[in-house]
């Protein structure tokens, strides 16, 4: 095993938020923090604004469906600091019966379409999102196709020419 590398971002996060950071690890240099979903906007704002971190580039937002686990979904944020040349991955678990998490558009405006994609494919609701509607599938589409319990053979309604 490689020697455990100290991560500035993770140390600062734990120092600032304490118990709201559920767990961290940085195996193979992948700095990862699992945070409570109620704190996601605060955590992201801190990561962007702290002068030692400056995570100014939100590279990706996606979701993972851990079917059978509780909470079921995990929203994943990949961040990069152009100034410090560091990466960090933030995760937050979201339960199936209440798949809601706050939007991070106020922190990074570019997260708009990623959040719409996560909503479209997994049904995660981003609270306070200004335009939360499907981005890839059409409005008449039933269900969220990347959920693990979406039936593979399900066929969707064919829609007529739009008027």
């Amino acid at each position: 095993m490689a020697e455990e590398r100290k991560s500035v971002a993770l140390e600062k996060l734990v120092g600032r938020f304490g118990g709201d950071i559920v767990s961290t690890h940085s195996e193979f240099g992948d700095d990862t923090a699992l945070v409570r979903r109620e704190k996601i906007v605060e955590v992201c704002t801190f990561l962007r604004d702290d002068p030692d971190l400056v995570f100014d580039f939100a590279m990706d937002l996606t979701c993972v469906d851990y079917l059978g686990e509780e909470p079921r979904f995990e929203v994943v944020y990949h961040l990069y600091s152009l100034a410090k040349k560091r990466r960090v991955r933030i995760k937050a678990r979201v339960p199936e019966e209440d798949p809601v998490i706050d939007t991070v558009i106020p922190v990074w405006v570019g997260m708009d379409w990623y959040e719409r994609e996560a909503y479209d494919m997994y049904g995660i609701v981003f609270r306070n999102h200004p335009n939360l509607k499907r981005i890839l599938m059409y409005d008449q589409f039933v269900g969220h196709p990347l959920r693990k319990d979406y039936p593979k053979a399900r066929r969707q309604p064919t829609i007529g020419p739009e008027e």
Binding site: M137, Y138, P145, K152, R154, T158, I159, G160, P161
Partner: protein, 167 residues
């Protein structure tokens, strides 16, 4: 259709039925409209190119307006979101019109057995000729054009006239 000759053998006049004359004219002037959404479109370009030269069969005048086209050549994957666009293009074409489903995707969805892909364009359109292959050779497209020519020659009903499902 028969050509009457004068007594000295010089060409004279034509006797025919009007439908046969019309079909003869249509047979060598099938204007295609290519709806290319995937790699099959590359093979379509090959078919129109100099090597295979679809113009030998009178079908080289590609129309990029459906209102001027006779043959809708669907080459590639059609997903649920694209289906209404394809249907509208079909509706905009003037009668008589023929539809060719080129390749596995247009014919059956191909290997895209998933949530987003229409499982064959015959779910929304009457299809006259299916070309198998993934993608088919340009010969396949030529074969489809010849098949439509044969339909014209024999007066076989078009798919739209005998289609089992009401569109």
């Amino acid at each position: 259709m028969a050509v009457k000759r004068e007594k000295d053998g010089a060409p004279g006049f034509l006797t025919t039925r009007f439908e046969a004359l019309l079909a003869w004219g249509r047979k060598y002037s099938i204007y295609p409209f290519t709806f290319a959404t995937a790699c099959c479109g590359i093979e379509v370009m090959g078919a129109f190119g100099t090597h295979y030269d679809l113009s030998r069969f009178g079908a080289e005048v590609v129309r990029f307006s459906p209102r001027q086209a006779d043959m809708l050549l669907v080459a590639g994957t059609v997903n649920y979101k694209m289906a209404p666009v394809l249907k509208r293009i079909y509706d905009q074409m003037l009668e008589p019109k023929w539809v060719v489903a080129m390749g596995a995707c247009a014919a059956s969805g191909g290997f895209y057995n998933n949530y987003s892909v229409l499982q064959g364009i015959d779910k929304i359109l009457p299809v006259d000729v299916y070309i198998p292959g993934c993608p088919p050779n340009p010969e396949g497209i030529i074969d489809a054009v010849v098949a439509i020519q044969k339909m014209l020659e024999t007066g076989a009903p078009r798919a739209a006239e005998r289609w089992p499902i009401k569109i």
